[in-house]
């Protein structure tokens, strides 16, 4: 399984890049919303382009943050019953889960690419600013590909082998503002 090591490194790197890009999108969107708010506060009228522009970042934040939460195993799953199974069956269930996530990632990549290719409309942010729908649609196949890449992390993506104590410890640590890998 030595070939997995560089792939895992790539998965970590892509995840860090996704975090930075996602944070950048949040900050740009926040800047636009704040501009809209202050403009309204001081002039009493609204800037028409702010809504449409801020909205363009939402699919990017939505889909990229999904891959981030999946990478950290922070997605919500019902593992209460499965964790009562014997170790061998638990491993089988976890392997099946990874297969199911792979299927989901592949479907998102395949049909997301089709969605991207067929996205022909143009968002009219304002008379001057027009953005192709491909700018937002491309995030679908991209996130599908990232999900498939993260699968190289194996069982680390799942909660199957974590007990409640560990999950709660992590929650409390996160409350402390401690950095988690």
């Amino acid at each position: 399984m030595r070939f997995l090591t560089p792939l895992r490194r790539l998965s970590d790197w892509v995840n860090q890049a996704a975090i930075v890009l996602c944070v950048a999108c949040v900050l740009v969107m926040l800047g636009i919303s704040f501009t809209a708010f202050t403009y309204k506060l001081f002039t009493g009228s609204s800037l028409s382009w702010t809504y449409s522009l801020a909205r363009l970042f939402l699919p990017w934040i939505g889909f990229l943050s999904m891959t981030i939460s999946l990478r950290y195993g922070e997605h919500v799953a019902m593992t209460l019953l499965v964790r009562t199974l014997p170790r061998a069956l638990l491993k089988l269930a976890a392997a099946l889960c990874l297969g199911v996530i792979a299927l989901f990632g592949a479907l998102l990549l395949w049909y997301g690419w089709g969605y991207f290719e067929s996205a022909r409309q143009v968002y009219m942010v304002s008379d001057q600013i027009q953005v192709s729908a491909k700018f937002t649609a491309v995030v679908l196949p991209l996130s599908g590909a990232i999900i498939l890449l993260h699968l190289v992390q194996g069982f680390a993506l799942l909660e199957h082998f974590l007990d409640d104590e560990t999950i709660i410890e992590e929650l409390i640590d996160a409350g402390d503002g401690e950095k988690r890998s």
Binding site: F37, L80, G175, G177
Partner: protein
């Protein structure tokens, strides 16, 4: 319909992420209805599931709450509330509840409240002679007020899922039931404090109380900014939440002076990670919702409910029992995105007011967050208090009774959730 149900149950039982379960079971249903060409809806539905304009507010709310957490707001709120209740018997228990009410407006997430408040209050309560399990129980039970008193991320998500209900109505509708829960908890806490002889604290000098109030004030007005702006119609939810986030940075850096760049970055990272959980559920619930709408499951569910009873009161109670059951094994958000597309149209078809049902659903699902066997909020509080989960459950029993009374009131009197929204019309 059968392939979707089988896929849903099997995938859920093997521990697949709930978001993936919703997408694939929706697709399985679609495939059974129309073959391979139906699979393409995954892209279209997921994209529209995260594109609702109102969802811009979700990362802003999470970011604001995280900034407040990182900025050490909890201590300031506790100091102020301590000044309010200090001389009353069992003061720290009441402080725990009242801080949750103030905190509710900031975080809108029960588990965040539990960790932030519990880590300060539980050790202090233990030190002053309160039972550890009681400290855990009251921290967890009061923290579930968070998603009910606005602003609340859960309500934003509900309004996105069920597009025929406005987030303003939900925010306004949550105020009375949320306060009712706080009053019910305070009543139990006063009774137990008197019965068990919990300690009073030394009176707080007026000057100290005034300073505590002034220090906490800049943070306490954050929910007022958000709510005031939205309910008055002055701002949209996205503008108000965006302003609140910028305001939280400014007071953290300039006024409290404990928000460093590193903490702001940390808050941003937590924001995108938690946003991911929310958006993942929302995107894939749109796939399942698409199938639910076409399959007629909601109509069948409505039919099933009417066969159980003709009385709307009993129908609502039955649905509450079902929600409590679902909530015992599932967290609030996934439970909401899974059941709302089926239950809400069914109940509206039976003549229940959509707003009344929305608030009832949010209240009940949040209450189930502190009930066994999952009850993640209570588990977290028990861990902080270092007591077995079972003992925390037993200590929570009086609060469960209080919650049952609140559920009964909200079921019986729809006006509790619809009166304030009606004033805004």
């Amino acid at each position: 319909m059968m392939p979707a149900i089988i896929a849903f149950v099997v995938l859920l039982l093997i521990g697949t992420p709930v978001a993936v379960v919703m997408a694939l079971s929706g697709l399985a249903g679609g495939f059974a209805m129309g073959g391979e060409r139906m699979l393409g809806i995954i892209a279209d539905r997921m994209f529209s599931g995260v594109s609702g304009f109102m969802l811009i507010a979700v990362p802003y709310f999470i970011f604001t709450a995280e900034l407040m957490n990182q900025g050490g707001l909890t201590q300031k709120l506790i100091a102020f509330n301590n000044a309010l209740f200090g001389q009353v018997r069992g003061a720290l228990a009441h402080v725990n509840i009242s801080v949750s009410v103030f905190f509710a407006g900031l975080t809108g997430a029960a588990i965040t409240d539990t960790v932030a408040i519990g880590k300060i209050m539980i050790p202090e309560m233990k030190k002053q002679g309160y039972d550890a399990e009681y400290a855990a129980a009251i921290t967890a039970c009061s923290s579930i007020i968070g998603p009910i008193i606005p602003p609340s991320v859960v309500m934003v998500i509900y309004a996105t899922l069920l597009r025929d209900i406005s987030v303003i109505d939900l925010f306004a509708g949550g105020i009375i039931p949320g306060l009712l829960m706080a009053v019910a908890l305070l009543a139990v806490s006063f009774f137990l404090a008197w019965k068990r002889g919990y300690p009073k604290q030394a009176p707080t000098p007026l000057k100290v109380a005034w300073v505590a109030f002034l220090v906490a004030l800049p943070a306490m007005i954050v929910p007022l900014i958000i709510l005031g702006g939205i309910l008055s119609g002055l701002t949209t939810i996205t503008e108000a939440s965006g302003f609140a986030a910028v305001y939280a940075i400014v007071i953290g850096v300039v006024f409290y002076r404990n928000l460093t760049w590193q903490k702001i970055w940390q808050a941003l990272v937590v924001t995108v990670r938690f946003s991911g959980v929310v958006f993942f559920l929302l995107a894939t619930s749109a796939v399942l919702g698409w199938f639910v709408t076409r399959s007629g499951i909601a109509r069948d569910a409505a039919g099933l409910i009417t066969t159980l009873s003709d009385s709307m009161f009993l129908q609502l109670l039955l649905v509450c029992a079902l929600l409590l059951l679902i909530g015992t094994v599932m967290d609030v958000l996934p439970a909401l995105v899974v059941v709302a597309p089926v239950l809400v149209p069914a109940m509206v078809q039976l003549g229940v007011d959509p707003l009344h049902f929305a608030i009832l659903m949010i209240v009940v699902l949040n209450i189930s967050n502190v009930t066994p066997p999952v009850g993640m909020t209570l588990m977290t509080a028990a861990r902080i208090a270092n007591v077995p989960f079972e003992r925390a459950i037993i200590a929570s029993l009086p609060f469960y009774i209080a919650f049952a009374a609140v559920i009964l009131l909200v079921v019986t009197f729809p006006a509790l959730s619809t009166w304030i929204p009606s004033l805004l019309k």
